[in-house]
Symmetry: none
Subunit: 135 residues, 2 copies
């Protein structure tokens, strides 16, 4: 136990001796690559946005869709209502899929899970807009 405590204290002293510059370099090095991401943002306008069954069916479809392994992360949301003229809050569902790069997004487009989502759910929507953006 005493040995372990001494070891920990030496570790702490060693870490304190590390320059701030190298700490900041490490943080930035980690920060830059994580910011590089392909954002695939899709807005769906359902034919019956107030129909609870249609919404549930659609959400179930989205929950299956996000299982495509190329997704690094995702966000499924509903509109935040606003009186501001510049805000479009008319959509029914927002779906953001985050990919590492364009190649992964291409794989996703033709992935069987994605094709099944379209087949199962396309009767539910009347309009879709996709915005793809990369930093």
């Amino acid at each position: 136990m005493e040995d372990r405590r001494n070891f920990m204290m030496k570790m702490a002293a060693g870490m304190a001796a590390t320059s701030l510059i190298s700490v900041s370099k490490r943080v930035n090095a980690r920060e830059i690559p994580t910011k590089k991401v392909f954002v695939h943002h899709v807005f769906f306008w359902l034919k019956e946005p107030k129909n609870a069954e249609a919404r549930a069916e659609f959400e179930k479809g989205l929950q299956a869709l996000v299982k495509v392994p190329q997704l690094q992360s995702y966000h499924i949301g509903i509109p935040v209502k606003s009186d501001r003229e510049v805000v479009d809050d008319s959509f029914t569902f927002s779906y953001i899929a985050y990919f590492k790069n364009s190649e992964d997004q291409n794989i996703y487009q033709s992935h069987p899970i994605h094709l099944k989502f379209i087949e199962d759910c396309q009767h539910l929507w009347e309009k879709v807009i996709v915005y793809d953006t990369m930093n």
Copy 2:
């Protein structure tokens, strides 16, 4: 391509100048969907999308804008071109700001840094669409 490289270099320079505390606060977009988050996604169509000076001025404005302390994270991007009919790749810049909740987004709306961004940059754009969504 040169525009894009300059943009990336500016992004990197801006991040390097950011303090350690704020860097650690800006979490990876990949972690975002695991939490309850307010996504504020803004698309800008510049009046002169091919004018390098106008683009640089606008990008500088965005880099100042993301200093608003309520932002948990952000993503600044350009369109990924696509032949798919459902994809709108006509915008000039995409800007996503992630907030903890609606209250923080309201504070951001009237924050002096945000008001200054509008004042400084609104002459550059001809169209803006905002989508606000929460999970």
